[in-house]
Symmetry: D3
Subunit: 157 residues, 6 copies
């Protein structure tokens, strides 16, 4: 397998930010998903307790949106992008919180990393807010669900 597989590496294997100047602006969307596994008691406290869960999720949602916008700073070889929209949704079940992020841009490159970063940072924020009662949480199964737009073709998991 040759070097062309890794577009971030030049023929000598050094890191670079790959050239997208010849690509065209197009509308691009990406969706990613992650889960925060936690003790049932922690979920219950989030769902039914005195704890106003709304606020936990509101903080985690804001954190994810802001992280999506700063992906080009956080991930070294990502291009800076002007995002058109970011949404972050939560789904709570017995022993986990699942997070889905969708990011849209009109630009020269895709937004998978932005959607994945939004999920990661939302999950870390939930972890941070629950860690005083549960240190065994796991952030798990972060995947790209779907990607549309751009010349490399659509992807759907």
């Amino acid at each position: 397998m040759g070097n062309e597989a890794f577009s971030h590496l030049d023929p000598d294997g050094k890191a670079r930010m790959v050239d997208i100047s010849e690509k065209q602006d197009s509308k691009r969307i990406a969706r990613a998903r992650v889960a925060v596994s936690m003790a049932k008691e922690t979920v219950l406290a989030l769902k039914k307790g005195d704890v106003p869960k709304g606020d936990v999720f509101a903080v985690a949602r804001v954190a994810g949106i802001q992280a999506a916008k700063r992906t080009g700073e956080i991930i070294p070889l990502c291009h800076p992008l002007m995002l058109s929209s970011v949404t972050v949704e939560f789904e709570v079940s017995d022993d986990k919180v699942e997070i889905e992020a969708e990011v849209t841009t009109v630009g020269r490159t895709g937004v998978e990393m932005e959607a994945l970063t939004a999920c990661s940072v939302s999950a870390l924020t939930i972890y941070d807010m629950c860690k005083s009662m549960d240190k065994t949480m796991e952030i798990t199964d972060l995947v790209l669900l779907q990607k549309t737009g751009g010349s490399s073709g659509d992807f759907s998991r």
Copy 2:
């Protein structure tokens, strides 16, 4: 379960940055771990191909170290902390790369979130660098391994 379980929420359930001004400076260490699952071909390309894997890991390591330092910016309710050290290590097996981060500080609060953030961002960076050849990677099993120092007691998974 009362509100005291969630130290980031005040008695009315609103977000706040919890007061650590009465806590003492002490040496605190945290270790976290995450895995990036990928196709065996992707691991092979990383390990044996023409691709100089050193660079992929070097970039991911730098990304993790820098993210650890910026945790207080990325996670909304984290305290800013002056980190004393950060290390990020990689272990490559057949179908995944595992990442372990260790963070040390001398301060008034622990560094779990810093270690977890370093792992997340290193994993996202590996994902970013391999995504042109493999869109089915998963970032998974992010956990806190160990935490020492501070008044709340040590933790080991």
Copy 3:
């Protein structure tokens, strides 16, 4: 009044970054204004004293320009924008300094928040530089003066 009034909230009332991908690029300008009220002695020190006022205003101007560029980081649901120009002007009277900022972009959304943020941060910088002699200053009357461009129509106060 329905939810459509608050474009940052989806139909369920959760925060999101609203989708601007279908909007067109157009030239957009916004002007905002704020006042820093202070003791007459503080104004005199700024205007006539040995203190070279130029430098105070130069620092406050730079702070405002830089803040305008970072509005998308500072205000959680603002879109990142590539600003075309930023100017910050000062007008000194007996008991206050007034600041006016104008921001221009060619983009898919307006720059009111950028102009307001430039004013706020310039005002805070003046406050910071004068606070050792006057702790009773007030930052007041921050308003949008004018907004042109975009499909929602022009606004003038």
Copy 4:
């Protein structure tokens, strides 16, 4: 009035970050307050409408807390500080929302600018979230309410 009045300016009037290396660590608290004046309809929409006001305030609270932590980046001559706590509270009346922020640190210099910056950015965030329905809002009466700790004496408005 001599130059000593402006501690940010050296004897020649140039900007500098003043030396605090000989000051002692002590616990310091500052409280600031600001108002966002708006049409009664806007307040009603926030208070009674279908709009879940919790989310608006949750986003504005997070924005204020994060801005407090980044004050040393936003205000050019502020010292970087490790904040011990930040709280942001809202009080809604007929035609305005008032915001009060309290910041605590254990450090060599005070946190007035951090409290004022938290208020400013929370107010700007409320403005941003309501601006689609009301372009005549004013952010006004931003003042320091109280300041304790440090050698320069306490201040109370």
Copy 5:
């Protein structure tokens, strides 16, 4: 010589971010170069020692790429730009390391400052990583090599 020579200053000599809203998007490239002079022993340690030089250069390369992306934050009057590519190359001789950076964008203004900033920060990173063995290093001869695109004409040193 009149004020028009300094496009960052308005006719009264105050700083501003110059208006580029009437300029056209075009592909723009800039290349810059810098040298880090060091003791021959330091170069030898970099080149032949047990030290894996790859990592030093990998870290410095990442630092330069990231700094290029953040030029609009670091240099007060620079416009934010969406970079299309960044490359950073090293050339090691007897008593120095030379660094060349090339930056590409499709935008309304040039990328000289981005190329120069990438060089500066890469050089500072090498300095940082070698400073424990050599405190007499010099970072020197930072120049713009070439600039193409845009209406002001091409430049080549």
Copy 6:
């Protein structure tokens, strides 16, 4: 020459942020210097022209001070530090502007990189503000002048 020469590299040569948790807080000062060489006409425009040089230097000074505070973000393996003071001075001669920065902290590690970064960014800012009239400027001779405090001994060039 063994690996111990490069304290940023572990025995296997991988990057890390070196552990300073066992070091003691002490007052540390560093001074650095750099020159911006330019055409005599450019210096004259700065010195005698209609151009108010004060503003150019004011902007460059603010840029240097802010960059010093963000050194831990800009240089990947630098520790975050709480700076006690930063000063940036300019000296103009026939064909160059020289910049000297002094940084002070009370902390566990030195501030050479902060002083060097302040010089670099001040120089880049002058370059940026003069580049419309002179594209042949050079930023050159960036060196550490002096370093005091800490266990590794003082250094003076």
